[in-house]
Assembly symmetry: C2
Homo-oligomer: 234 residues x 2
Amino acid sequence: MAVTAQERGTRSVAGGLGHRTVSAAVAEALRQRILSGALAPGVQLRQDALAEEFGISRIPIREALLQLEAGGLVKIVPHRGAVVTGLSVEEIEDVFQLRVSLEPQLLILSARHLTPEDFAELRSLRDEYSTALKAGTVETWGELNRRFHLGLLRHAGRPRSLAIIAGLLQDCDRPTRLQLSVTGDVARADMEHTAILDLCEAGEVVAAANLLRIHVEHAGRSLVEIYRKSAAAV
Amino acid sequence: MAVTAQERGTRSVAGGLGHRTVSAAVAEALRQRILSGALAPGVQLRQDALAEEFGISRIPIREALLQLEAGGLVKIVPHRGAVVTGLSVEEIEDVFQLRVSLEPQLLILSARHLTPEDFAELRSLRDEYSTALKAGTVETWGELNRRFHLGLLRHAGRPRSLAIIAGLLQDCDRPTRLQLSVTGDVARADMEHTAILDLCEAGEVVAAANLLRIHVEHAGRSLVEIYRKSAAAV
DNA sequence: CACGTGAATATTGTATACGATTGGCGGTTG
DNA sequence: CAACCGCCAATCGTATACAATATTCACGTG
């Protein structure tokens, strides 16, 4: 067993039309809406409306909402419905602090097991990423960044840690769009990704881990600062 | 009608107080069964059987299973049902490694904000805990240990970290029963809990954090060792 | 005029019924 | 004798229907 986190790399990301159940498909659709910002924090999701919109019954809607609650994207209150969640500044700081605590440590474990194929894939991701940034297609950035970071840590042999980090990255994703569309940290992140890759390939795992730590620290600080300025965050 | 476990609790699940929905009550009932070991890893949970046993429809059963999947207690495969999950040795090592990385750090943040009321509660928990151990009532140990550790870290101001640690502690819980009924680490854990409390109250937060780290490290090593010996772990 | 109270309404929670998918079994065939 | 194919039973997934609960608003009362 222990197959909880592996398959999501190959299957669930795979394609929109590969879903075996309706509820899973709805969950994915809603997930993307929330992550893309189309459904803002605080919005209430009414089962009837969603059911009618998707042309299905309420049962799969309910199950999809439960799956989303598992990922922390909505909060369900009995008899009162589901509400899209948002992160407070404290929670964002916490998420980045966790990433700082965990990611470099895992990179040290994972780096020396990265294969040439892994490096090829990571470079490809980085390229996609910088292309997407130049094109201004912010929608895909979070996903690409997530896959990049997870790809780096893939071979750490720590499945539970990886699952946790996947969740943290997803939570970073939503607020990060804000950061990216505003600041110039974009280019910096791109350069840092490249540098981390180079250090890993050169076998300088400790230096790579340090840079990764700085990379995450900076992203966190920058994001928190922006969040504090646009103080409307719930 | 082989198993009518409904009798053991005179009140029907639907009438259980504290739960506002049937699905939540079922989820809690199943959770306790899994955590207590009554439902071993690998066991398949059939919705029809559970529905009949609880005297309710399959819908709340399904939703309860989804909630359990959120907590990682079962794995649901489309069209093939839910199976109780077990942790591999690697995952257990990972869980304890995560606790080692996170808990001491949070204790440093939390310790100086612990109030006299907090200390009173923590001492009470520790007393309950040692009493339960002398009485051999292993069932409650996990819950008490969880509340003790979470209570220590309560004021760290890191909500997300706390939620993650809560999950880690729950995952430690199941395999830990094994450890406790076998080894003599019981008394040691009790003493360490007391010592950690004393150091916190004395303001020696760094020393307390160090001891906490050692405490968790030892529990992890001991458990992994036992797991490796009784190699039946799935 | 403020405020508690009650019924009406909207929304969620659960039961029942039907359809879809999976896995196994027996028959047939090379 | 082994392997393949189609049928059948078991189980899960979804739709429809009903019940329970929370929210809203009008109403009467202090």
